[in-house]
């Protein structure tokens, strides 16, 4: 703050919107008493080009260094006036909202004028603390880590590489392709057909393999990650290459020689494989791999390998990388059907999961595509499918959500059975059939093919003689039935994979209550996470089908391109550290949910992309060494001081600190001309936690009758904020101030009428308190 200020005040009439209900002459008269104000000008419409000339002219003529423009909301014309005040720095002005938050919501002209004056005074006091700031240009490294090489990860990797980025694609398993390569067939609703999944996926995989900008690392997991300014330093761990991929010719002699067996994951445990093996015939990479959980290190494979490719003493490889962005494409796993013993999966071998059925029908499956009842080896006479196993389940060990794809999966597999084995009857027991959009046509098509559907969730499955019995109540007819069948197929829920949960933990990304990756906003920002630079796509974010996964994968790559290729100009309201006060305790680093802070070369570094300016670090810092640029404590205090400056003795004033959502809600109050008590003076703060106890105490001891906090409750800080208010109320009590003078309410954009009535109610309460 400079010693003396040369402030110019411009009063916009807004074509009568303001001037009809605010006596601007009276305001001018009052303001002219203030020595620091060097110029006061009126205009019909300051936002016009004429207005621009007036503002510019006065700045140059009067040598102004700060400007206050009394007009509408910053949202409407903030950017306009930021340009109009050139040659001044664009952050050296304030805009008291005298339209939406004053003239439009106050009926009495005297009261409205009084309120407008106090809002302008507040802006004058505030602007004194405004500093010249610059938007921060940022650049992040042109490389990306993609975790998970299923359809989502591969799609993102391909798209990023084509846009010129260096991509490292890692996969925990020995081969790429994820769930899609395993399912065998996918449905095509417009053709009413089931197509070969591998045939659709292989070109995509080929593209990835042949792109020089993509480095594929299989058998590799993310071990550690730390944020380094805009980039991420990551450490990857690759399992030992027991079989040298350069030397292996995929002859298969090692597998023949290996004496040790393990359940075959590719076929969902329906058969066994050897400890040294190739995951499946078309696997990429095509080399053999060794499962060290089952290898007994006998050396039989070494003896037969013609190229000496095998080394049983190989060790892990640790790889470190710096990348500009990370994509979580870690996919899903399927609900453990052993958790539903009543469906007999643990007890009866003829109870399968949909994926096991898919493997059984897969040409590269354990029976070469022949559908056989496991216990008899015969073609089943009847197959009963059970939907929603682990989905739409209210019990603690189930998932409350719908897994979204299971209806289509069941219909697809049912139709496949029907077309290959027309004598086999298929019954689907469902809760509701969910086939939105064109999928509905496929549903009808399958139904017309003779697949039977029963609405109901079976109670249990029992074994009787040579077959199984499915007990179900048809909830449309209320008939209880016992359906004899050879095969039962369970449609298990899609759930978050262990890989997803591990990646979230390593990267510090929050999970939803269902343990999927939480997006920044489920509607508006569906591929971003709370950590700027970390993105999510595919089933790591929630159940979805192949089409949706691909859409999301491409969206993620576009968002990364914006970040990396576009370069960003970031608003300057970010944390700044006073190095003289900072003792490098690291509390702010640990506490920052956005991973915006890091310790680098004996100082705290703020990542401008990651920092949201929430100010949470200010509260955690024991040294009070942190401030938000352009939003100091002193500035906030000045805003309060200005409001209370010309307060009359009989006047009631409520200072309402509203977050951005609350501020928009208050503007809506004006736009809809909902009356608001004239006592309300709004100060817009970026986050409610920004308001400290000292500010509240200052307000209540310097003339404010009450303090209202308006908080959008959908934030992770909500509970803490509410607790904090309770603590502040206690402090008030200790300081001899009636705690009822402080209140907090939730705010929502559409509920401006609610906000108005909360203001009114508080106004009334305070009136009775003072009397």
């Amino acid at each position: 703050m400079s010693e003396t200020n040369r402030i110019g005040v411009f009063l916009c009439h807004c074509g009568g919107n303001i001037s009809d209900n605010v006596d601007l002459d009276k305001i001018e008269e009052k303001l002219s008493e203030n020595e620091e104000i060097c110029s006061i000008k009126h205009h019909e419409n300051l936002c016009s080009l004429e207005g621009r000339n007036i503002i510019k002219d006065q700045i140059l003529r009067e040598n102004l260094d700060k400007v206050v423009i009394s007009a509408c909301s910053k949202i409407t014309h903030g950017a306009t006036f930021q340009k109009y005040i050139q040659p001044l720095n664009p952050y050296l002005f304030e805009m008291p909202n005298v339209r939406e938050q004053c003239s439009w919501v106050t009926e009495d002209k005297d009261k409205s004028t009084k309120k407008a004056l106090s809002l302008i005074n507040s802006a004058i006091e505030t602007v004194k603390y405004n500093e010249p700031l610059k938007k921060i240009p940022t650049k992040v490294k042109n490389s990306v880590l993609v975790i998970g090489a299923g359809i989502s990860g591969i799609t993102t990797a391909n798209s990023l590489a084509k846009q010129g980025m260096e991509v490292t694609l890692i996969e925990k398993r020995p081969a790429v392709g994820g769930a899609m390569i395993q399912v065998g067939k996918v449905f095509t609703p417009d053709k009413m057909s089931e197509d070969c999944a591998a045939c659709l996926l292989n070109p995509v995989i080929d593209e990835m393999v042949h792109n020089d900008k993509i480095t594929l690392l299989t058998n590799t997991v993310l071990e550690r990650s730390s944020r380094n300014a805009g980039n991420f330093d990551v450490i990857l761990r690759k399992k030992p290459d027991y079989i040298d991929p350069e030397k292996c010719t995929s002859c298969g002699k090692c597998t023949q020689a290996c004496p040790s067996f393990a359940p075959d994951e590719w076929n969902e445990g329906l058969n066994n494989r050897k400890a040294v093996y190739k995951p499946f015939p078309q696997a990429v990479p095509s080399t053999y791999t060794l499962d060290d959980d089952f290898c007994i290190k006998c050396g039989a494979c070494i003896n037969v390998c013609p190229t000496n490719a095998i080394n049983l003493d190989a060790i892990d490889e640790i790889i470190s990388l710096t990348v500009g962005a990370v994509v979580i494409a870690t996919g899903h796993q399927r609900f453990d059907t052993n958790k539903r013993p009543e469906y007999g999966h643990p007890f009866y071998e003829d109870v399968l999961s949909q994926m096991q059925l898919a493997r059984l029908m897969g040409i590269n499956g354990p029976t070469n595509g022949h559908l056989q009842v496991p216990s008899t080896g015969k073609v089943p006479r009847r197959v009963v499918m059970i939907q929603c196993v682990g989905s739409r389940d209210q019990m603690p060990d189930g998932h409350k959500y719908c897994s979204k794809v299971c209806c289509m999966v069941a219909l697809k597999n049912a139709n496949l059975i029907h077309s290959h084995y027309p004598d086999t009857e298929v019954i689907i027991c469902y809760t509701d059939i969910r086939t939105p959009g064109v999928y509905e046509k496929y549903y009808k098509y399958v139904q017309d093919n003779g697949i039977q559907l029963i609405r109901g969730r079976p109670g249990e499955i029992a074994r009787e003689d040579d077959h199984l019995i499915v007990r179900i109540e048809d909830t449309l007819t209320h008939n209880k039935q016992e359906i004899p069948t050879d095969l039962v197929v369970l449609s298990a829920a899609l759930e978050s994979s262990q890989g997803t949960i591990d990646a979230a933990k390593t990267l510090g990304v929050p999970l939803t209550e269902d343990k999927f990756i939480k997006e920044k906003h489920p509607k508006m920002q569906p591929v971003s996470t709370d950590i700027e630079g970390i993105f999510v796509c595919g089933t790591a974010q929630g159940p979805k089908d192949i089409t949706d996964s691909i859409i999301q994968a491409n969206t993620a790559s576009t968002k990364i391109s914006e970040l990396i290729n576009g370069g960003l100009e970031v608003e300057p309201h970010i944390a700044s550290i006073n190095v003289k006060k900072c003792v490098l305790c690291g509390k702010c680093v640990d506490n920052c949910r956005y991973q915006a802070l890091s310790i680098y070369q004996n100082s705290i570094r703020v990542g401008p992309i990651a920092c949201t300016g929430c100010g949470d670090c200010i509260i955690t810092c024991p040294q009070e060494a942190i401030s938000i640029q352009g939003q100091s404590d002193e500035r906030l205090e000045a805003s309060i001081k200005g409001i209370l400056k010309d307060k009359d003795d009989d006047e009631q004033i409520i200072i309402a600190f509203l977050d951005d959502i609350g501020n928009v809600s208050a503007n809506n109050m004006g736009i809809n001309r909902v009356e608001c008590p004239s006592s309300i003076r709004i100060i817009n703060v970026p986050f409610i936690n920004r308001v400290k106890y000292k500010h509240i105490k200052y307000a209540l001891t310097h003339g404010a009758d009450g303090v209202f906090l308006g908080e959008y409750p959908d934030s992770y800080k909500h509970d803490e904020i509410r607790e904090n208010v309770q603590v502040m109320k206690k402090h008030l009590q200790e300081d001899g101030i009636n705690p009822e003078r402080l209140i907090i309410h939730s705010v929502f954009i559409p509920y401006f009428r609610g906000l108005a009535s909360q203001f009114k109610e508080f106004d009334d309460v305070l009136a009775t308190l003072s009397s």
Binding site: P346, M395, E460, A462, R463
Partner: protein, 328 residues
């Protein structure tokens, strides 16, 4: 001791008595005490305790408010007695007490209404303060305690019971009312099975209808007798098919349904295969050498337990049974 994620008490216990246990199978209480004494569990019986209202509650005779008020009264005795760990023998008492504690902690208006009623009637000492009882940690079923101490059970082995075919039947109100407090599963409940394992008498891993209820349904048994018994029949037939020697229960309601109605069920199904019905505490007591009549109280069972004792080679004096009418 077994690692569990809820608190299981071994001291400061009020063994919460059950109407059905006392009236129908008093040997269950005697067996529980016998086993607790062996295992060194510290407990008291409180003669001031009242019924939990369970049967009446599910008959719609007692409403939620009276049930909760009665629970508040019982809790106050347990607290004043310095034995606030309630351990019921009956699954219904377990669930009702838990629900009541939850209501008393969470619903301020209900708690206040009950406290007001106490005050107005000179019963201030029964007043309940929010948080007096933790529904999760302060109310545990006898089976929870046995499970927790199961590894100590073999130290007191007196009899070999390993040649029994055992089926377990778990109380619905233990498994399915407060899911989060249920140990060892509720879709395939296994807590009794785990106790059997340590006695080297493993139960059937699974049988058809295992997680099904017994059919008693409180009022259903009396008001809708046919509906109630229809449900019991399914399980009864499945047990016959498995040729079990004994059905183990953890709730006197279930015991009553299978034991007292055995003849009716046999008439309904035409199935005649002998199996005894016992509470798990009775079997543990038997394993630890308890007297079949003086402790287990088998004379109160409708289905004779003596054939089971014969199979196990346990000697007994049948004249101690003064209840059954014998055709001698």
């Amino acid at each position: 001791m077994v690692d569990v994620d809820k608190f299981i008490p071994t001291e400061n216990i009020t063994l919460f008595r059950s109407c059905l246990v006392s009236a129908e199978y008093p040997g269950v209480e005697a067996s529980t005490k016998f086993v607790f004494d062996k295992l060194g569990v510290e407990y008291v019986i409180d003669r001031n305790q009242s019924c939990c209202t369970g049967l009446g509650h599910y008959y719609d005779i007692f409403d939620e408010l009276s049930t909760t008020a009665l629970a508040a009264r019982n809790f106050s005795y347990a607290i004043r007695n310095n034995h606030k760990q309630y351990v019921p023998m009956c699954a219904t008492c377990y669930a009702i007490l838990k629900t009541s504690a939850k209501i008393l902690n969470e619903k301020d208006d209900v708690r206040e209404e009950i406290n007001k009623a106490f005050r107005e009637n000179g019963l201030e000492e029964f007043q309940y303060n929010k948080g007096d009882i933790d529904p999760r940690d302060d109310i545990t079923h006898v089976v929870d305690v046995l499970y927790y101490l199961k590894d100590k059970i073999p130290e007191f082995k007196k009899r070999d019971i390993s040649n029994l075919t055992i089926a377990t039947h778990h109380g619905c109100h233990y498994c399915k009312v407060h899911y989060n407090d249920t140990l060892c599963g509720y879709r395939n409940p296994e807590i009794i099975d785990k106790i059997c394992e340590v006695m080297e008498a493993p139960a059937l891993q699974w049988y058809d209808h295992k997680p099904r209820h017994c059919g008693s349904g409180f009022r259903q048994r009396y008001a809708n007798r046919e509906l109630s018994l229809d449900a019991t029949v399914d399980k009864f037939e499945s047990l016959h098919k498995e040729k079990v020697d004994v059905l183990l229960v953890m709730c006197p309601n279930c015991q009553l349904q299978f034991d007292r109605y055995e003849q009716v069920l046999e008439d309904m199904t035409g199935d005649k295969h002998y199996f005894a019905v016992m509470n798990i505490a009775q079997l543990v007591a038997l394993y630890m050498g308890a007297d079949p009549y003086k402790v287990l109280g088998i004379q109160t069972h409708t289905v004779n337990v003596e054939p089971l004792l014969d199979k196990l080679g346990i000697e007994y004096d049948s004249t101690e049974d003064t209840l059954h009418v014998r055709n001698e």
